[in-house]
Symmetry: C2
Subunit: 331 residues, 2 copies
């Protein structure tokens, strides 16, 4: 016969309760300063996850979508994927002597950012096609991985996957701990972002939605192969975000997180749905610790969405005042 | 003080063990006859899930893709989605008096299947555009749901969502119980299949890959809305299956299940990957309990893939001999 004293039973109960988190838990958002922004997030999560709240939603409805550039990691002085394309042009230049005389490649090789900017969206698209196509998705993954392992941001002297926002990492983990499924919905390339999304954000490849180029299937001497083609397939920005979400996820999110006018439609579509909704904009207001930019920025321009936020009920994060930390601590 | 007798403790232990499945478990595939087909499936699952097998793969690698028509549910005497389109043409006919004189609509309204067949793929595409576009995805879901709730297969006198293959339902559940993520990869419409995939197969909307028409985003007087357009976006068949999987899931499956030549490329790409792989073809050999068809069938033609199966090492299910039951029991 096994006999348990009352104190043994209480200890066991405390152990069970503390490991399942039913007692007071540590702050899930320690890098967020206390205040209305943090409170709005926590209130929303409690509202949709507490069965007695009246706004309870089952886990399958708890879909949250996150923009990547400027929302989860930095996008200044240029998109990270553009920095990758520029480095790639330099690396491939010996195989392309014609690039020395041809824009926008010439501008990249001469470090002439003004001429590159003058080439506009068309020029950038040309750079992307020349550097992102012609290989299998697996080979592209290796190229991106190798680059991310070595490339460094000049100002912060850190690799790009360290220049992710610590408060947003905490927010992703907090939502997942409350039964949310978290997706990235990026204007950047789907196969570029998939490279690091699981390791850095805890978001597996199937939960990344993004822009894409076309892919061709070929049987190469009995070896089935996919080849990335220099042709646009889908642009996951602005109108493309709700379209991409509908295509990929098949349901309207209840929460959306962005930082620029490219996220306007995703935010609007998400928060126009019935029931409890959360729309949130990261406003870059911290020139000292990161960057301060909005209406006039080339990358991550935030204008129309900032004006609409009060009426739409979107929460605007003031990076300088709402975030205790910007990036994860250096190792 | 709480005292437990030895038998109370043993009972509790037995309860815990039996509910967590640590003791001998029941056959996970009861509708499959014992034999080499069933054994090949079980051997594969054990191989990739037992840590000491030498072929162990972590759960994130355990991606399994299933064709839908003819693999998970019946596709004779015609694809279910085509039956939906025909019924829809009849329902919408009063709003389209011009259809009485215009093929392929005239053929549908007169029940002239020969004239409909003569209209070919172009005719079928016209029917799909006329019946699947012009509404929001949510309204399309309602239309499909209402139809599935009432439409019945003539021969079996059952609704279509009851005409799913019981052995395949068991296989889906078995794989998921072993840490696999199961996806549908259908030549059929992604938003058509999503309608019932979760309720019928336990596969949520985000895990359905399929053919699609284009979608437009519009702000209708401040109400953000998606509208389905009468324009093809992606055909998820043949070459399109590996392309769709790569786009949507972002990784190569380790197991693929199909029944026709439309699945050849998915099977080939899946089983050409390194490490343990399973390719399986459902061969419809049971005219009495379901249908017997392969090389000459209009729907679900199985010719090239059947010839390739022995060389490729694909398992071929002989429906008549391998399956104890075809459909779930009638309620």
């Amino acid at each position: 016969m096994l006999c348990l004293t009352r104190s043994m039973i209480v200890s066991a109960a405390v152990f069970i309760v503390s490991t399942t988190g039913a007692f007071a838990e540590p702050d899930p958002l320690p890098s967020w300063n206390d205040g209305p922004t943090k409170q709005a997030i926590v209130d929303f999560v409690i509202k949709v996850t507490e069965p007695e709240s009246g706004d309870y939603l089952p886990p399958q409805d708890r879909v949250a979508t996150f923009d990547n550039d400027g929302t989860l990691w930095l996008e200044q002085p240029m998109y990270v994927q553009l920095a990758f394309a520029l480095d790639r042009v330099k690396e491939l230049a010996p195989e392309h002597p014609e690039w020395k005389k041809k824009q926008p490649f010439k501008a990249v090789l001469n470090g002439n950012m003004k001429a590159l900017a003058a080439s506009g969206e068309k020029g950038v698209a040309e750079l992307v096609m020349a550097t992102h196509a012609g290989m299998s998705p697996a080979d592209f993954q290796t190229i991106v991985s190798d680059w991310l392992d070595t490339a460094k941001d000049e100002r912060f002297e850190r690799g790009y996957t360290n220049l992710v926002y610590q408060p947003m990492l905490e927010l992703l983990a907090y939502l997942r701990s409350r039964g949310f499924t978290t997706y990235i919905v990026s204007g950047g390339g789907i196969e570029f972002v998939r490279n690091f999304s699981e390791a850095v954000y805890g978001i597996p490849p199937a939960q990344v939605v993004g822009s894409s180029i076309k892919t061709k299937y070929e049987d190469l001497d009995g070896e089935p192969t996919l080849i990335r083609l220099p042709e646009m397939n889908f642009i996951d920005d602005k109108d493309g975000k709700p379209i991409g979400i509908n295509q990929h996820i098949g349901q309207r999110p209840i929460a959306a997180f962005g930082n620029s006018d490219g996220d306007y439609q995703m935010l609007d579509w998400t928060t126009s749905g019935e029931g409890p909704r959360l729309g949130l904009i990261v406003h870059h207001t911290d020139a000292e610790r990161e960057y301060a930019y909005d209406r006039d920025s080339t990358f991550g321009r935030l204008d129309k969405a900032l004006d609409a936020a009060p009426d739409k009920g979107w929460v605007v994060v003031d990076m300088k005042n709402d975030w205790k930390e910007i990036f994860p601590p250096k190792e």
